[in-house]
Amino acid sequence: MVELSMTQAQAPADRQTGKIVLRWVLYIVLVLFALFYLLPLFVMLTTSLKSLEEIRTGDLIALPREVTFAAWRTAWSEACTGIQCEGVRPFFWNSVLIALPAVAISTLLGAMNGYVVAQWSFRGANLFFSLMLFGCFIPFQVVLLPMARVLGLMGMAGTIPGLIFVHVIYGLGFTTLFFRNYYVSIPSELTKAAKVDGAGFFRIFWSIFLPLSLPIIVVTVIWQFTQIWNDFLFGVSFSQAGTQPVTVALNNIVNSTTGIKAYNVDMAAAIIAGLPTLLVYVIAGKYFVRGLTAGSVKG
């Protein structure tokens, strides 16, 4: 573990103060960046706590004169997303049904792919990997129409499995990328030892590699969950009434061109829609652990 400073104590005073100063500078830098990142959230939060009246007349990025949670209530359960005026709440479940399986499947597949490419490489594995990577760049706008066709042919048009399928396909490149690039630095001796122990391909993956992958699983889950949860284009194109994800609802609240704009509700809805993702960040963040490979090999 690298530390800029060791534990504090009395000895050479100037050195110690130097370290304490350094530590302070470090914290100040971190906090300044935190402020930078928080600024828009601050604007959104304050706006969501204002009444529409105040927004129309007041300074947009000022603190609310009077705090009201009405917008939050509206966003959650009253805002209109069409003729239905039940807020974003009903759409949450769709998003969950799409995101959870899609994240799980794409992460697992990506982990296996990465594992093969990094640890069971064969002729052509790198080519496969390159093809996969390049696939990350295909613009979703162009896949929309042929994909719609394919989904139609497969009878999955407008269904949640259809959406899961799409998200898995276009998430694979990234999940494979993350895992492969993590697994290449894991000593190959581990695979060797497990082979000698009689473990097969899947056993080694499951018992040895998955437990070693916590940080990268976190990163992958964060990425995939965010991408899928926040996806709008696929969500709007491959859903139908009843399967629309929360982003479509959010969009419907926020994005009507000719309706009255209720910024406070918009902001509240956006924050609400982002909460599950935030939750994932907080929970997953715990597994950013260090030293998983410690003690495995010497060299």
């Binding site: 209109c80 069409g82 719609a148 139609g152 407008g158 709007v236 009434a241 994005n255 009507s256 061109t257």
Partner: protein
């Protein structure tokens, strides 16, 4: 049992309530309505979804479609024929001819109109105008003069949001005023090359350049409703925007005629933006029945009234009583009748009524590029011609 899955992009509170009326009527007649709302980008997102749905063989039963897009979809062979309903309900008689024209595809009826938005409105803060002794302008020169006066008084003459479609909204109002209804039709409906490159068109861009001077420096990217707020707050005097802006004024408790003024933009003519429903070819008797019922209800008297009261627009039917409507709506309705007779009832290009997407887009590109740079008017006209040619 008639069923309908309706793809539309009316999702804001007022709009949603309006559509809910339709749903209720539909349900009262025994229909079951599945709502498929997709807002965003003035219907772009809905159109994206529509395309995917159509390609996947899972088209919605009814779709909010407007303008030439109806004909485009028809050409793809995916629209249903609702001539039966139209004839049974005598749409021909109750709809203005030019609006009816949008609803027909090669002679058959293929869509049902919901409302008429007027686009060429100019909104003003009554107090600011009277304080500065200014009347609602009726010519662009008058507008320019008023604006200069306001500018001297430290008031922003024109509240504007610098988004391409808002630029286009001003542009078409200016173009209608300067080119006149006939010139507008030639230029933006028929894409007549001569008109597009005429001196009058240069004058239109000149006026745009002048308008640019009346806009505050922070207009870029601003939402239209924030511009409306500026008018409401007295920060700015005028805004050129469709009649949905009225909703913002009303929502803030402002009274038309007292707190704010509405007038058509200088010049003759009426630019409309008509929302309509097109029916897609679907399998299943229930769905077909749903389409018929829906079409009938959409153009029905009651829905047309209730919906437009909510939405700020006016009914597409000319025979709906307007007692409950406000003064601006009355003005709009009268102007519509007049211009319908005078042949100056024209489709808004900025809102996708006049041209197909590619061409309308090409024009908007030039308009917004010109408005946001120091491009000369002649260059702009040249680019306009090139852009349209390139878009074909």
């Amino acid at each position: 049992e008639p069923t309908a899955e309706v793809l539309h992009y009316w999702t804001s509170g007022g709009e949603a309530k309006s559509v809910a009326v339709l749903q209720k009527e539909f349900a009262d007649k025994g229909g079951s309505w599945t709502d498929m709302p997709v807002a965003g980008g003035g219907g772009d997102a809905a159109m994206t979804a529509l395309r995917a749905r159509v390609l996947s063989g899972n088209a919605p039963t009814a779709v909010q479609l407007k303008g030439p897009a109806i004909q485009e979809w028809y050409e793809e062979g995916v629209l249903a024929d609702i001539t039966d309903v139209a004839e049974a309900n005598n749409w021909e008689a109750v709809l203005p001819a030019s609006i009816a024209g949008h609803m027909k595809c090669e002679g058959t009826w293929c869509a049902a109109p919901v409302n008429v938005h007027r686009v060429d409105w100019i909104w003003a803060n009554a107090e600011v105008l009277s304080a500065n002794g200014i009347e609602m302008p009726t010519t662009w020169d008058a507008f320019n003069a008023a604006a200069e006066k306001l500018q001297e008084a430290g008031i922003i003459p024109l509240a504007h949001g610098g988004q391409a479609w808002q630029d286009a909204t001003i542009f078409e109002a200016v173009a209608l005023g300067i080119l006149g209804p006939e010139g507008y039709r030639k230029a933006f409906v028929e894409l007549d090359k001569e008109t597009l490159t005429s001196d009058a068109m240069i004058a239109v861009f000149d006026q745009m350049r002048i308008m640019r001077g009346f806009v505050d420096s922070n207009f870029s990217g601003r939402d239209w409703n924030l511009a409306t707020s500026m008018v409401m707050n007295g920060e700015a005097a005028f805004q050129i925007m469709g009649d949905w802006a009225k909703g913002e004024f009303m929502a803030a408790g402002k009274v038309p005629g007292e707190d704010f003024l509405c007038a058509s933009t200088p010049g003759e003519g009426f630019l409309y933006n008509v929302d309509s429903f097109a029916m897609f070819d679907v399998d299943g008797e229930d769905k077909k029945a749903g389409q018929q019922l829906l079409a009938e209800l959409v153009v029905g008297q009651n829905f047309q009234k209730v919906f437009n009261l909510n939405k700020g627009s006016i009914p597409a039917r000319t025979d709906v009583t307007l007692d409950e409507f406000d003064s601006c709506a009355h003005l709009s309705s009268e102007d519509m009748k007049a211009s319908s007779e005078g042949g100056s009832l024209l489709p808004s290009y900025a809102h996708g009524m006049a041209l197909r997407g590619a061409q309308a887009g090409a024009i908007t590109d030039v308009v917004t590029a010109h408005f946001n740079s120091d491009m000369s008017s002649t260059d702009a006209v040249q680019m306009l011609a090139d852009g349209i040619a390139n878009s074909m």
